[in-house]
């Protein structure tokens, strides 16, 4: 890869393109219009081919970008209007309308392309590059054009920020304010067409939709705040665009669109797995933590109740060690599980561990007392309401007691300061 002037310009142009696509894509995703870009992209093909045909017939260079982009824009707008017209029939929903328009326009483009290829002059030169994108074939002036169009879209986005935000988050409120959401939607469609057309040569019309969807979806996983979402989405878009151009410079045979999409998909996958609050890993960790906390409560309570059943209490003269097997039996657990939990609790200094027996430490006793109070609070409440029988109250309490604060437990209990007796026999499960 030689970092010549041309390569650098193309790289910068693709990064700017990604920046604009990320920004517009964020609004498109929030407004539920992301797939319109798919229709626009595919619909652009016949426009590009016709424009090349007309330019060549007039005797100009058919590789000049502006007429091709103009053709793409006109065909793209025609595609959007067709989607809306079909959706207005109400028999065909918007998603089906998008599929119809993108496939039919694309088919027309393919038919036209096969016709142009039979012509003697070189009108078709490089037209297939628009389908999957080839950033390496871009000239510096092409990159300037793409970047200029992208910047125009970005600027419009910033100018319309307030209206777009209102339309995305609270269309009804926007209407009350006197903002016309229909007009804002139209502007958003215009923005989508603009960035899509700007990205045709670099990314290709088949995959351009991904440059709008993937950065926005990635940002959506990482934040809830709109300004941050726009910034993240734009940044991810820029990274995708630049990486795609770089990949194309390294291996010109590689379709740039594919490289762009795979970089975007990698970003999205990372966010999906590792996002702090919505990521799958964080979610799994949270749920594992919850389960551990529950098991811990149950273990401590079983240890406490084993003492209670023997007529002794922690800190009293009859304070005894409890076999882990007894706790396992009381909870209906396997001995292995009870043993692992006991070791974990010993590590946290909540129980003392000796010869397969446990003993609550002062900290453990305090935690166990809290767990017992919470459990009995729920049990008593359910029984007082007549909502469950004794066994049912025990089972239900096992499920809900864990979120209970000591204050709430106190309010639910008949004798707020004391530890009430268990309503059922302690020890093995019924």
């Amino acid at each position: 890869m030689t970092l010549g002037y041309n390569t650098l310009v193309v790289l910068a142009g693709c990064a700017l393109l990604g920046l604009a696509a990320g920004t517009v894509g964020a609004f498109a995703l929030l407004r539920g219009r992301a797939l319109v870009a798919d229709a626009v992209g595919h619909a652009a093909l016949p426009g590009v081919v016709l424009a090349a045909l007309i330019v060549a017939t007039l005797g100009h260079d058919p590789r000049d970008l502006p007429p091709l982009l103009a053709g793409a824009a006109i065909a793209g707008i025609a595609g959007v209007l067709s989607v809306q017209a079909l959706a207005r029939t109400r028999r065909i929903r918007e998603d089906a309308a998008i599929a119809i328009v993108l496939s039919a326009f694309y088919a027309a483009g393919v038919a036209l392309l096969s016709y142009v290829q039979t012509l003697p002059d070189a009108a078709q030169a490089g037209l297939t590059k628009f389908i999957l994108g080839q950033a390496a074939a871009m000239r510096a002036e092409d990159a300037f054009w793409a970047a200029a169009v992208a910047m125009l879209a970005l600027l419009l986005c910033l100018l319309l920020f307030q209206r777009l935000r209102a339309a995305c988050f609270d269309p009804d409120f926007a209407r009350v304010l006197g903002l016309r959401t229909a007009r804002t939607d139209l502007a958003l469609l215009g923005l989508i067409v603009t960035v899509t057309v700007a990205g045709l040569q670099a990314v290709g019309l088949v995959l351009i939709v991904a440059l709008l969807v993937l950065p926005a979806a990635t940002a959506r996983l990482l934040t809830f705040r709109l300004p941050r979402l726009l910034l993240l989405s734009a940044m991810v878009g820029a990274v995708c665009g630049a990486a795609g151009a770089a990949a194309s410079a390294i291996d010109p045979d590689l379709p740039t669109g594919a490289a762009v999409v795979l970089v975007g998909a990698a970003c999205f996958t990372l966010a999906l797995l590792f996002s702090p609050d919505r990521g799958l890993v964080a979610e799994a960790l949270r749920s594992a933590n919850r389960r551990l906390a529950m098991a811990q409560d149950h273990f401590l309570r079983a240890a406490w109740e084993a003492q209670e059943a023997a007529g002794a209490g922690p800190g009293t003269a009859g304070d005894r060690w409890t076999p882990i097997a007894a706790i396992a039996a009381a909870r209906g657990w396997g001995e292995g599980r009870a043993w692992r939990l006991a070791r974990w609790l010993a590590l946290r200094d909540l129980v003392a561990l000796s010869e397969r027996q446990v003993h609550l430490t002062p900290r453990g006793a305090a935690a166990a007392r809290r767990a017992v109070r919470a459990h009995r609070a729920v049990e008593h409440h359910l029984l007082a309401l007549g909502a469950a029988d004794t066994a049912g109250a025990d089972r239900l309490a096992d499920l809900v007691e864990h979120g209970l604060t000591p204050e709430v437990a106190t309010r639910l209990l008949p004798e707020p300061s004391a530890l009430p007796a268990s309503p059922h026999a302690l020890g093995g499960r019924p």
Partner: protein, 311 residues
């Protein structure tokens, strides 16, 4: 054109177009009625990496490994779309777009890396279809149609297409009532104890199989046209389930034949030199039919009720 030429060049392509478009047209109605048309779009793109992997692993462009790979990729894509939609909490359209573009891009890169592209499976086949390459060189004349030796050399794509078409027709015939219920009243279907999720899965797998079989003939993207256009045109014109489904299949098959004829043989017969990509002509015709149906549909019926329920 002489009979042998017709048999060698046009008949196989015509039959391929008819089978591919008919199968897609049949399945398209179910997708449309279930408001799942984008899934057809997604699956027809998502099968690409599976096709390439099946091809790369066996090194041969034979039907079954590619079909198996494509079905696996389609299953993975449908599962992933659900995972992404739930985990990222984005609308299903955006989740679909994110997943299928990724699969398609992966397929393109796999094609580049595995060297499949240079050998046999090229990009043009994915993007434009290769209906014109479906030829039956062994045909000598009309008698060849009855000659087992010549029939054994029918193009490979036709075997796959015919097999998938027969399987799809059989499954649809067997599941006629359950699919009807699934399309119009999924809740009632579930209440009746129908395995709705398995039915959906069967439908998706049929779409994927049709997409693979049709892929070589009309190309990855034009499969979408055949999945949505006939069904949408019929949806604009009829409220009858039987007419919708069977009509979709018939219209699809008709579009396939008409599109192929318009692309090459008819202009040639008229003495013109015009020759278009057949898949492109078929897809364009599909769009025109939908537009005509939208313009010509009975206005009175359209104004009577907003969204009439099909009986």
């Amino acid at each position: 054109m002489s009979a042998p030429d017709f048999l060698r060049l046009d008949l196989p392509a015509l039959v391929a177009a008819m089978l591919a478009c008919g199968t897609c047209g049949l399945l398209g109605s179910f997708l449309l009625l279930r408001r799942d048309s984008l899934l057809g779009d997604a699956l027809s793109h998502a099968v690409l990496p599976g096709i390439i992997a099946g091809f790369a692993l066996t090194g041969a462009r034979s039907g079954l490994p590619m079909l198996a790979g494509a079905l696996a990729a389609a299953l993975a894509a449908t599962v992933l779309i659900t995972v992404v939609r739930r985990a990222a909490r984005i609308e299903s359209g955006a989740a679909t777009g994110a997943v299928f573009t990724t699969f398609f891009a992966g397929g393109l890169v796999l094609m580049e890396v595995s060297g499949a592209r240079s050998v046999d499976l090229d990009l043009d086949c994915v993007l434009f279809g290769q209906l014109e390459t479906v030829v039956w060189l062994e045909a000598q004349g009309w008698s060849s149609l009855l000659d087992p030796a010549a029939l054994a050399h029918l193009p490979r794509q036709l075997h796959l297409l015919a097999g998938v078409a027969a399987a799809v027709v059989l499954i649809v015939a067997l599941l006629w009532r359950p699919l009807h219920l699934l399309c119009f009243d999924p809740d009632y279907a579930a209440a009746l104890g129908l395995p709705a999720r398995r039915l959906e899965m069967a439908l998706n797998l049929m779409v994927a199989a049709a997409a693979v079989a049709a892929f070589e003939a009309v190309g990855s993207i034009l499969v979408v046209a055949m999945l949505v256009c006939p069904a949408a045109a019929l949806r604009l014109l009829t409220d009858d389930y039987r007419v919708q489904v069977l009509g979709g299949a018939a219209l699809g098959a008709g579009l396939g034949v008409a599109g192929y004829a318009l692309a090459g043989p008819l202009p040639a017969a008229a003495g013109l030199t015009l020759s278009l990509n057949a898949a492109g002509a078929i897809g364009t015709l599909g769009g025109i039919v939908v537009a005509a149906a939208a313009l010509l549909r009975p206005r009175a019926a359209a104004g009577r009720r907003e969204e009439p329920a099909i009986a």
